[in-house]
Amino acid sequence: MKLITAIVKPFKLDDVKEALRGLGVVGLTVSEVRGFGRQGGHTETYRGSEYRIEFVPKIKLEIVVEDDRLAIVLDEIEKAATTGQIGDGKIWVTTVDELIRIRTGERGDDAI
């Protein structure tokens, strides 16, 4: 099993979700996060004074998938989240040692 973590632009969340639904992904976790990458932050001006907003808002998605579905899910997220502009985000993959569905006690791929 793999854990896919994707940082995407907030307005792309719906596109990514629909793409994953289309693949039959049955669960994902979403968080509102802040950070910076190459895009850096931005400035806002209040009463003529500029304020540097160092951390820009992003969406973090976490999805656990079976090993054999990893490639196609990654492709779909990438396709759905891209705008070609700086700040599109990142996706990374980590290996998951164990997964448990709390209600039934199922383990491993059965718990996905």
Partner: protein, 402 residues
Amino acid sequence: MDSGSVAWVLVSAALVLFMTPGLAFFYGGMDRNRNVLNMLMMNFWCMLVIPVLWVTIGYSLAQQPIGNDLIGGFDAAFLNGIGILGDNGGTIATIAFLGMFATITPALISGAVADRMKFSAWAIFVPLWSLLVFCPVFKWLYGGFLGKRGSLDFAGGTAIHVNAGIAALAAVLVLGKRKGWPRDAQPPHSMPLVMIGTGILWFGWFGFNAGSALSANGQAAQAFMNTFLAAAAAGIAWALVEKLRDGHFTNLGVASGIVAGLVAITPASGYVSGAAPIIIGLLTGVVCCYAVRLKFKAGFDDALDVVGVHFVGGLVGSLTIGFFANPAFFGGSFHRGIFYGGGLGLLGEQLLANGVTIVYSFVVTTLILLALKRTIGIRVSSENETLGLDYSEHRETAYHNL
């Protein structure tokens, strides 16, 4: 007082009371999310202390007996001798109306001292300042020596905005800068709160200005119209300066312009007509948009720009009376402005009245705060300033996450 006027003054009084929570949201939204409840509380505190103080002794000192030049007396303490039978309740309605002005005036200062003042010090400062600064200045302008000389202040541009604005400057000079200012200054935590506060202020300001005719008459109607126009014109002016200078129309620019325009038209609202409110609004919007930058040049930490908006806006508005006052339009007996053939006399009186107010308010406010600083202390600890005043002063949190 005729029944129509009693009704209008009572409605106006309620409108003016509503301005204090409006101000609280206007300031609270601009403040940081860990100090917003402290800001609301500083304003609501004025709504508790001042009404009681006003009826106990404030009104008597600020007005009665009418003939006094410098300060009233104790004759009307607890509204002694003021009945409702002879004048249809007009005097009681007027005292309530003026009490709302007394309430919001110290509240204006809260925006300057945001983020660092001990609440216990604020709690004592408010009644002291009201008695020692607001009441005498109010007396001088309305029935006292400055008013008798011929200066004009229809709804409190000098008595309220210049007075509180210069007191705000004195307060931040005694209190000192916020930790990290100006390097770490933070943007408003909730612009929607600022905008709803602005809307409430504008709504309430119709009572503030048009109610100051103390009658349901033509002067009230024109003051209403002036309040409508000056706010809009100043909002346009401020927003346009920001668009041309900084690149965008901002919500905070619009809100600031509206409030600056309302401040400026306050002293003039019962004396000017025609295009004057629009001109006063446009002028104030531009002047105040630049005035809020003075604090960075001069190095005083007026957190939410009470000096730049209320002091400067009030002063600009008060001085424009010297140009635009038009007694013929109102059928009144006040002095004419320069544009209506009145010469420099009225402008001179406006300068004098504001000058006296500025010097007195600045000095006495400084003394009050120095006295509090030496005794109970006026500033929270550095640790509490970092932690936020909502928690340190009130043991409350505005926004709980989880």
